[in-house]
Symmetry: C2
Subunit: 157 residues, 2 copies
């Protein structure tokens, strides 16, 4: 389990999606504007999230992305590992032969540690994060801001 900015982008985008897609699909353009992440980078991230079966793309006008599961069924660990490619965290993926065909210190240590962090993040769902008031307030503010900043003719709630 690695924790990088890439994973943070993915979690942030998913949180934005979870908040705004309750009525209709959300376009990556909107998420990009609200979270100041480049559209093309979001496309890369969402391509992985889609392949991981976490989001579904809806094409055509009024389309966008929506979640495949409920917010309480999507956890942070899944999001991060979906975009992080889970690159061999110890050079010898599970084979324990990174060092002269033997288990290395890294293995004994980091595998366990990594697993504990994963368990921890698995127990935090998107729903948990959405419940936090602070997040909701910020998201609401950003939501209206985008509506003011960019001309939006469609779905004026």
């Amino acid at each position: 389990m690695r924790l990088t900015t890439k994973g943070r982008y993915a979690v942030t985008a998913m949180l934005d999606l979870a908040f705004h897609s309750q009525i209709k699909p959300v376009t990556l353009t909107d998420i990009a504007a609200r979270q100041t992440i480049s559209l093309s980078y979001l496309e890369q991230l969402f391509a992985r999230l889609r392949r991981a079966g976490m989001v579904k793309g809806v094409r055509g006008p009024g389309g966008g992305y929506k979640l495949c599961r409920n917010t309480n069924e999507i956890n942070i660990a899944d999001i991060i590992s979906a975009v992080d490619e889970s690159l061999d965290s110890t050079k010898c993926r599970g084979e324990a032969n990174c060092q002269k065909d033997q288990a290395c210190l890294t293995h004994a240590l980091w595998m366990g540690l990594s697993e504990q962090i994963r368990n921890y993040l698995e127990n935090i769902s998107l729903a948990d994060l959405l419940e936090k008031n602070q997040v909701q307030d910020v998201a609401k503010r950003q939501h209206y801001e985008v509506h003011q900043a960019i001309e939006v003719h469609r779905h004026s709630e």
Copy 2:
């Protein structure tokens, strides 16, 4: 709090050091050989660890590095943040103005999450890791291996 290979290298090296420096200082050359990390990269990492006051270098023959504190007083979070430079995890270090002078979603979310992970890793000390039998066994094996592989005339315990 970021979790990358760099941090893992640092933790691994510190664990190696904690295990082997109980009698006398440990040279980076030895750690490099045991953990298959390049010597110069270790030097970089230990320069940071030294500046963070976690290790102390002893120059001259018989020198090397030793821990400044007890193994139960050094936690994983400290090691990682010592080498990871704690690069602004949200683009607006604590100022919460990353996006149009307002708190962004990233802030509300990741700051809290990051803090929780930090708290978690803060409660794991080097001593905790050393107590695990598996780690000790591997370390012991590597210890003797190096003595066989490389000609070591000094400090044959």
